[in-house]
Every structure is written in structure tokens, then in C-alpha cells.
């Protein structure tokens, strides 16, 4: 299990992200103790959830979104006004199960293309909705003017890992597509069976 946890950590969180976050905390400790405290809490929670993720292949979307919130809180502290996150999640899908840590790499990818290389504010939009028997997650970004920098859709490491996990969990019942965003950027759409875990997860993440 320890090995699986380590692998999960390595796959999930880029070294850049971790070290920049720690650097940010070091900075905040001198200027805003409460903010430093919060960021340290977010980072710890993120690490803990990543370690736990190795134990369970699926979690309710609610929990997945909580994980994403921790991640985004840290990115927000780093990027400030350069990062705007919009979220549209239908309340009836919050209990639907999704592959553990499916959203964060996709959002990280979006930030990498729409925020990191651009000085102007970038927007990342996360949506979840039910479409009949399917659950649909979409992650859209506002893109970069240097669109040519972007690797061909579906060729990023993040996407191929995600694709592999979907194939393993929902053989022949999943889809992952990348389309041009409107008006710019791109949109990643993940489709999987809509299913609500019979036994709700009551494992809390608060300490």
C-alpha cells in the first residue's frame, strides 16, 4: 500500500506545485500568519487525500470536489487575480461516484495552459451534470494566445493517465474527448456511467 500511495502522490502532484506552494507558505508566515496557516492546512489535506486515494478507486463527486477546492485554494494563493475558477455542478450529481482524483489533473492541465503562460487573467470552468444514464464532467479553459504551444489534444501525460483509468474502471462505458473551447481555449469532456454508491461514504476529511 505504501508503494501505491507513493505512486499516487507522484502521479498526482507535480513537484513544481508542491515546492511553489511551500515557498508561498514560507512567504506568508512573515506577513499573514492566518493565511499561511490556511495554506498549510490546505496542502496537508491535499496530501492526505492523495494518500487515501490509493485505497479507494472511486469516491462521491462531493468528496472529489472538496479535494479540488483544496488544490484550487493553493493555486489561488499563488496566482491571485490571474486565476478565476467557475463551477457549475448540479446538486443531483454530488453523490454520484467518480474515479478518485479524476478532476485535479485535468484542472491542473487547464491552469497550465490558460494561466501559467498568460499574464492576463485566465478562466477555468468546471461543470458536472447528469445526462440520462451518464455523468458528464467538463473542464474548460480560456486558453493561451500561444495556442501552438499546446500539445495535440489527448497527447498530454495527464490525459493519457486519465484515459487509462477510465478504461480500467468503466470498460466500454466511458468517453474522454477534447474539443476547442468557446470562444477560445479547449474543453475536456469526461463521460462515465451515472451511479450512486449504495453505501454513502461517511469518512470525513475534517480533522
Amino acid at each position: 500500500l505504501a508503494q501505491a500511495q507513493l505512486a499516487a502522490l507522484q502521479m498526482q502532484l507535480q513537484p513544481h506545485f508542491l515546492f511553489n506552494a511551500l515557498n508561498g507558505i514560507a512567504a506568508l508566515m512573515h506577513s499573514d500568519l492566518h493565511a499561511a496557516d490556511r495554506m498549510l492546512g490546505d496542502l496537508s489535506e491535499l496530501l492526505r487525500m492523495t494518500l487515501e486515494a490509493a485505497e479507494e478507486p472511486e469516491v462521491p463527486l462531493r468528496r472529489e470536489l472538496a479535494y479540488l477546492d483544496r488544490y484550487l485554494a493553493i493555486e489561488q494563493a499563488r496566482y491571485g487575480h490571474r486565476l478565476t475558477v467557475e463551477r457549475a455542478v448540479d446538486s443531483d450529481v454530488l453523490d454520484a461516484v467518480v474515479p478518485t482524483l479524476i478532476l485535479q489533473p485535468l484542472v491542473e492541465n487547464a491552469i497550465k495552459y490558460a494561466v501559467e503562460p498568460v499574464r492576463a487573467p485566465g478562466i477555468v470552468r468546471v461543470c458536472a451534470q447528469r445526462a440520462g444514464e451518464a455523468l458528464q464532467l467538463t473542464i474548460a479553459d480560456s486558453g493561451s494566445p500561444r495556442a501552438a504551444d499546446r500539445p495535440a489534444p489527448g497527447h498530454g501525460i495527464g490525459l493519457s493517465n486519465t484515459r487509462a483509468r477510465l478504461a480500467q474502471l468503466y470498460p466500454k462505458a466511458h468517453a474522454l474527448t477534447v474539443e476547442p473551447g468557446v470562444p477560445s481555449g479547449s474543453l475536456v469532456r469526461v463521460t462515465m456511467p451515472y451511479r450512486v454508491e449504495a453505501q454513502p461514504h461517511c469518512r470525513g476529511t475534517a480533522t
Binding site: 513544481h16 515546492f19 511553489n20 515557498n23 508561498g24 514560507a26 506568508l28 498568460v118
Partner: protein
């Protein structure tokens, strides 16, 4: 003597971190903070800092791009800051003074500043030695304190077109032989003098000018680098970028450099 520095990082928190650590160094003065590579280029040209803390990964124009854009004579000492070390080798290729990994550690930061102090101190010391030598040169001009036979040539008079140019020997970078003449290199200028290299060598200060090959005398204070070439040969690179072949032994040249 304050170290005038500029911070370049696209993340506000990261700039804040550098500023905090710098505030513990009384002689480091932060002139400006830049949030992008483009801003850094403008500020480096305008402020002419002695030191820059330069983030490697930035949007649109990264730290290396900044160095490419700034003319060589405006480049300050560079301390790279980055979260991940795969850029380290390129950083050292870019002649970084130091390379700090994020999160920045107070002790490593202090070490980097110490390095900057030492390097800037060297530059100042070199300037002081040069001015002292000039002073001594000028003094020997007036009452001869030393016997005539050991008096050194302090100036050359060079005919150039319709005028005579006075060249202080201390200002000469190198002298190369060209048949019956020698070519005297002084900064961007080269003057032709009808004399032999050997005759000039005999009159110049041997601690200052070294015959590095059959065809060249070099002002040791102008030497910046010695590059190893094929077959055990070396190339001398001067501060102004001029390159000269060197056939004299490396060890001998190095010793002469240390005492010049």
C-alpha cells in the same frame, strides 16, 4: 557599499519571500520587483542593478529569455530561483552566480548573498588596483624615482591619419605583430606602430605584459578567460571579447596572471 538588486518572479508570494530574506541583509537594497520577463528587461536596463533574483519559469518570457534580451554590459549578477532543479544545468551555462531552490532557505539565501558580495568586492578591488597602477604610472612620469634603464614605457605615441594619438600603456589590451609593424589594440581601436614586438616587450612592464605567443603580447589585467583548445593549446579571451591564441604554457600564464 549597498548591493542594488531587483526581484523577478511572476508569483507575488515568491517575490515577497525574496524580499523578506533580503531584508535580513542590511547591505542589500531592493530597487524594484518585476512580475514578468518583459517588465524585467525594461527594469534591468533602467535601474542597472548589480544583482537580480530571477525566477526561471514565467509566462510568455522566462528567466533565460530575459538574459537573452538584455545586452551583456547591462547584465547584473544572476541568482536563479526555481521550484524544480531540472533547469540547473542551463542556469549554470547562463553563468548564474547561484541557484536557489524553492522554498528558499534562509541559510542558502545568505550564502548566495555572500557570494554576490565577494564577486562584487572583486570587481571593486580590480577597479581600485587599476586606478592605483594608473596613479603609479603617472608618478613615474615626473621625477624619475628609478634609474633610467629600468624605467618603463607608460605611453605610446601613435600616428593615426593626420594626428598623433597618445595611448597609455595601461589602456592597451594586447599587441600583435604584423610583419614589420605591430598592431596595438586599445578597446575598440587598433593602431599600427612601426616597431617590433620584441623591442616593445623590452620596454613594457613585464609584470603587466606577457608574451603569450610568438606573435602577441597581452595586458594581463585584461585577461578574462583561458580556454582549452585541441592538442593542449589554449585560447586567451580578453574582457572585451578579443581572442588570441596562446602557445605559452598554461601554468606559466596562470602564475603571471596571479601576480599581475
Amino acid at each position: 557599499m549597498n548591493i542594488r538588486a531587483v526581484i523577478v518572479d511572476d508569483e507575488a508570494l515568491a517575490r515577497q519571500r525574496v524580499r523578506q530574506l533580503a531584508s535580513g541583509e542590511p547591505d542589500v537594497e531592493i530597487l524594484a520587483e518585476c512580475a514578468s520577463g518583459a517588465e524585467a528587461c525594461t527594469v534591468l536596463l533602467r535601474e542597472r542593478p548589480q544583482l537580480v533574483f530571477l525566477d526561471v519559469q514565467m509566462p510568455e518570457m522566462d528567466g533565460f529569455d530575459v538574459l537573452d534580451q538584455v545586452p551583456g554590459d547591462c547584465l547584473p549578477l544572476v541568482i536563479f530561483t526555481t521550484a524544480f532543479d531540472r533547469h540547473a544545468i542551463r542556469a549554470f551555462d547562463a553563468h548564474a552566480l547561484d541557484y536557489l531552490l524553492k522554498p528558499l532557505r534562509a541559510d542558502r539565501f545568505r550564502e548566495a548573498i555572500e557570494r554576490a558580495r565577494a564577486r562584487l568586492g572583486q570587481q571593486q578591488a580590480r577597479a581600485m588596483v587599476t586606478s592605483l597602477l594608473t596613479f603609479l604610472d603617472e608618478r613615474t612620469q615626473s621625477p624619475p624615482l628609478v634609474a633610467a634603464s629600468t624605467r618603463r614605457l607608460t605611453r605610446l605615441t601613435v600616428k593615426a591619419d593626420d594626428k598623433v594619438v597618445v595611448v597609455r600603456t595601461a589602456d592597451i589590451d594586447a599587441i600583435e605583430s604584423a610583419g614589420n609593424y605591430v598592431s596595438v589594440h586599445v578597446g575598440p581601436e587598433s593602431y599600427i606602430v612601426r616597431d617590433s614586438l620584441t623591442a616593445l616587450e623590452a620596454q613594457l612592464d613585464p609584470h603587466r605584459f606577457l608574451r603569450v605567443s610568438r606573435g602577441a603580447l597581452v595586458n594581463l589585467t585584461r585577461v578574462k578567460e583561458l580556454h582549452a583548445m585541441a592538442k593542449g593549446e589554449h585560447l586567451i579571451v580578453l574582457h572585451n571579447g578579443r581572442r588570441l591564441p596562446m602557445s605559452r604554457g598554461l601554468r606559466e600564464v596562470e602564475r603571471a596572471l596571479r601576480f599581475s
